[in-house]
């Protein structure tokens, strides 16, 4: 009986594009974008520092300083374009891979690394940052974004919520429920799906047989595919969707068509399931390179790029030392985090663990 895998149609349509892989600025009448050169430089700076952070984190994991790392290599434009489209009053709910969004929200790399080092489950105050902590359970955060957006509606605030998730996540019931809740309440929320073509070892064809942006139409709101490796296009499309949401126009689904260049995480071995040739193809569509080409064509010279390189080196150095210096959670403090109000079991068990830890003089036997 075996059903052949159906290739989701439109795999060769990259979506809305404002900057070609070669670095040529193109116009899309439906998606105007008015950016000056310093803004574009700022975007490349974000992406460059993000990529450096990412490679540094991968290295730190290899050195045993992190327990795990989920690389965003190749997805910098999607994350920075979307992240920079967010206004300070907006709020982002993400999965575990959106380091670029966190970067744009002003969260420091070392704050992010607390999670990956195993020092804490979070690493920042979501309300202060305007971004929730990493969410590992696939798709769960989409509903949080919708609920938050329903709160924005009730506050009459000029703001929007944004939910980030992957292509695999679109299969989860929670994401569909989020679409329904958002649609019927016209909530000011933007769904930003980074279709990086893979969910660990499963290609997109295991999740859908049509392009993901089309999913939105079945729920009654617009869906759009954007070249996720084109930071300008992502910025334009996301800004427009957020503006529409804030203005009461309801939700939009953005499919950022991109590619996971690295392994799923540092625990993963993609050679078991995908061809190097596929990765090579996508290398030609590198999100940073095209901006560099564009900027150079616009006359930005070596000096600026050298400065940026130096800034990246400094960042990397700071991350290395910062990560190693990250304090572990005090085991006894764990009990204080669970409940806002006093709880007898927490008090009892905290005392129990304190006594247990105090009983050690030498090193402990592993369990």
């Amino acid at each position: 009986m075996s059903q052949p895998l159906i290739d989701p149609p439109g795999q060769d349509d990259p979506g809305v594009q404002l900057l070609t892989p070669g670095g040529r600025r193109v116009a899309d009448p439906g998606h105007p974008l008015d950016v000056d050169l310093p803004t574009v430089q700022g975007l490349l700076r974000d992406m460059t520092l993000l990529r450096r952070f990412d490679s540094e984190a991968t290295a730190l994991q290899r050195q045993g300083e992190l327990g795990l790392w989920a690389s965003c290599l190749g997805q910098e434009a999607a994350q920075v374009g979307a992240g920079r489209a967010l206004a300070p009053a907006d709020f982002a709910f993400t999965s575990y891979r959106e380091h670029g969004v966190a970067w744009c929200r002003g969260i420091r790399p070392t704050q992010m690394l607390r999670f990956w080092r195993g020092s804490a489950h979070g690493g920042w105050d979501p309300r202060a940052a305007g971004m929730g902590n990493y969410t590992v359970i696939i798709g769960a955060q989409a509903l949080h974004a919708v609920g938050y957006a329903m709160g924005i509606q009730r506050d009459g605030a000029d703001a929007a919520a944004m939910a980030f998730f992957g292509d695999g996540a679109t299969s989860q019931g929670d994401v569909a429920e989020a679409f329904t809740f958002a649609a019927v309440s016209s909530a000011p929320v933007v769904f930003f799906c980074q279709n990086n073509q893979w969910a660990i070892s499963e290609p997109l064809s295991r999740q859908t047989r049509v392009p993901l942006w089309q999913r939105a139409h079945g729920f009654g709101f617009p869906g759009v595919r954007v070249d996720g490796n084109d930071v300008l296009a992502v910025l334009a499309v996301t800004r427009a969707a957020l503006a529409q949401a804030r203005a009461g126009g309801g939700p939009t689904l953005i499919e950022a068509f991109t590619y996971r260049m690295a392994a799923h995480t540092t625990s993963d071995d993609p050679s078991r399931y995908r061809d190097a040739a596929e990765v090579d193809q996508w290398r030609a569509r590198d999100p940073l390179l095209r901006v560099e080409r564009y900027l150079r064509a616009e006359g930005v010279g070596d000096a600026w790029f050298d400065d940026l390189g130096a800034e990246a080196d400094d960042l990397a150095e700071g991350i290395r030392s910062g990560a190693r210096a990250l304090p572990d959670t005090d085991p006894l403090a764990v009990f204080d985090l669970v409940y806002a109000e006093p709880h007898p079991a927490m008090a009892r068990q905290q005392a129990e663990l304190a006594a247990h830890l105090a009983s050690f003089t030498g090193p402990r036997e592993p369990g």
Binding site: P126, A128, L143, H144, G151, R154, A340, E341, P344
Partner: protein, 332 residues
């Protein structure tokens, strides 16, 4: 109904309704979310009239999706709201299980203590109303076992009125069990503020006694009280403790009672295996090892899916099974 501050007589459902109304009056950030909670006022009418008085933005008829209800409530809580979710019947909470267990319960910890989750999940629970499958379950164990949640059950109109307000005021997530078969039973309720009330997480000795303790919650409190009354005829004095808080358990009250009576029977509708009785038995065996004259006896639902309604009375703990268990504690 009488004046605020006065005492009136209300059925349990109406008392919870009055408590919710009070909570919404007190704090404009309290919202009610659920299926049919608006115009219909909920299938048990517990939210009756609230949408009319507080509007569709505060009393929201949601799409038919429990994960969506709890997930949206979490987002609303992040935004500073205090949502009260209604799950229509006990057996419909499972589609929301991931949002409750992996998100709601863990978000404060995940955020390093920065995000409070003042979300209440109201669940009409338990059997005895002749309902079809999934409408008569007692699933408190799942939530009691889940760190990060608080779980309570009310048994009387007075407690329903007070406890729902306290649950809404709590900055922690509270699963709020309502014994649906008691919704129509009436009792005195003192409306208005009552600073001197028993805290939410304290058990209550609803009938003092000396010979054995019967521990119950929700609908089983009445069964325990009836058993105590019947036992009196046989010359036995049973103490009845209404747990009220299932998580955390009010162990000091339980231990105190057990030490005094030296015999304990726990009654609940939930299945026996890993029902609350197991935890109470384990704790009391530990805390009162020398004091107990007999092992803690459990009178519970059986370890089967809740049976068809025509035979449910055979499966629900009843006065006779409670008295049998009390007898057993005298057989050691």
């Amino acid at each position: 109904m009488s004046e605020p501050g006065g005492t009136t007589t209300l059925a349990l459902g109406a008392a919870i309704n009055a408590g919710l109304r009070q909570a919404m009056d007190d704090d404009p950030r309290v919202l009610v979310l659920g299926e049919d909670v608006g115009r219909l006022g909920g299938v048990f009418r517990v939210t009756d009239g609230l949408q009319k008085d507080f509007g569709g933005d505060r009393v929201v008829d949601t799409p038919l999706a429990e994960s969506g209800i709890v997930g949206a409530a979490i987002g609303l809580a992040v935004r500073g709201y205090r949502p009260v979710c209604e799950i229509q019947f006990d057996g419909f909470v499972y589609p929301a299980f991931d949002q409750v267990v992996s998100q709601l319960a863990k978000l404060r910890t995940r955020s390093g203590g920065t995000l409070a989750m003042p979300v209440v999940i109201r669940i009409p629970y338990g059997g005895g109303i002749g309902a079809v499958e999934h409408h008569s379950e007692s699933n408190e164990s799942y939530f009691v076992h889940t760190a990060g949640l608080r779980v309570v059950a009310c048994s009387s109109p007075a407690d329903g009125y007070r406890m729902i307000q306290e649950a809404v005021r709590s900055d922690d997530p509270v699963v709020f069990y309502e014994p649906k078969r008691r919704y129509w039973e009436k009792g005195p309720v003192r409306l208005g503020p009552a600073a001197d009330d028993l805290p939410l997480h304290r058990a209550r000795v609803v009938r003092p006694g000396t010979d054995a303790t019967v521990v119950a919650h929700g609908a089983m409190v009445r069964v325990a009280l009836d058993a105590a009354e019947a036992a009196r005829a046989e010359g036995r004095s049973l103490e009845v403790v209404d747990l009220r808080s299932l998580s955390p358990l009010d162990l000091p009250t339980l231990v105190d009672s057990a030490r005094r009576t030296r015999r304990v029977v726990v009654v609940h509708e939930a299945p026996r295996t890993l029902g609350l009785g197991a935890e109470i038995a384990a704790e009391l065996a530990d805390a009162c090892f020398y004091e107990l004259e007999a092992p803690v006896q459990r009178v519970t639902g059986y370890d089967v899916p809740y049976p068809p309604s025509r035979v449910e009375e055979d499966f629900l703990p009843d006065l006779d099974r409670v008295l049998d268990a009390v007898d057993r504690t005298f057989g050691y």
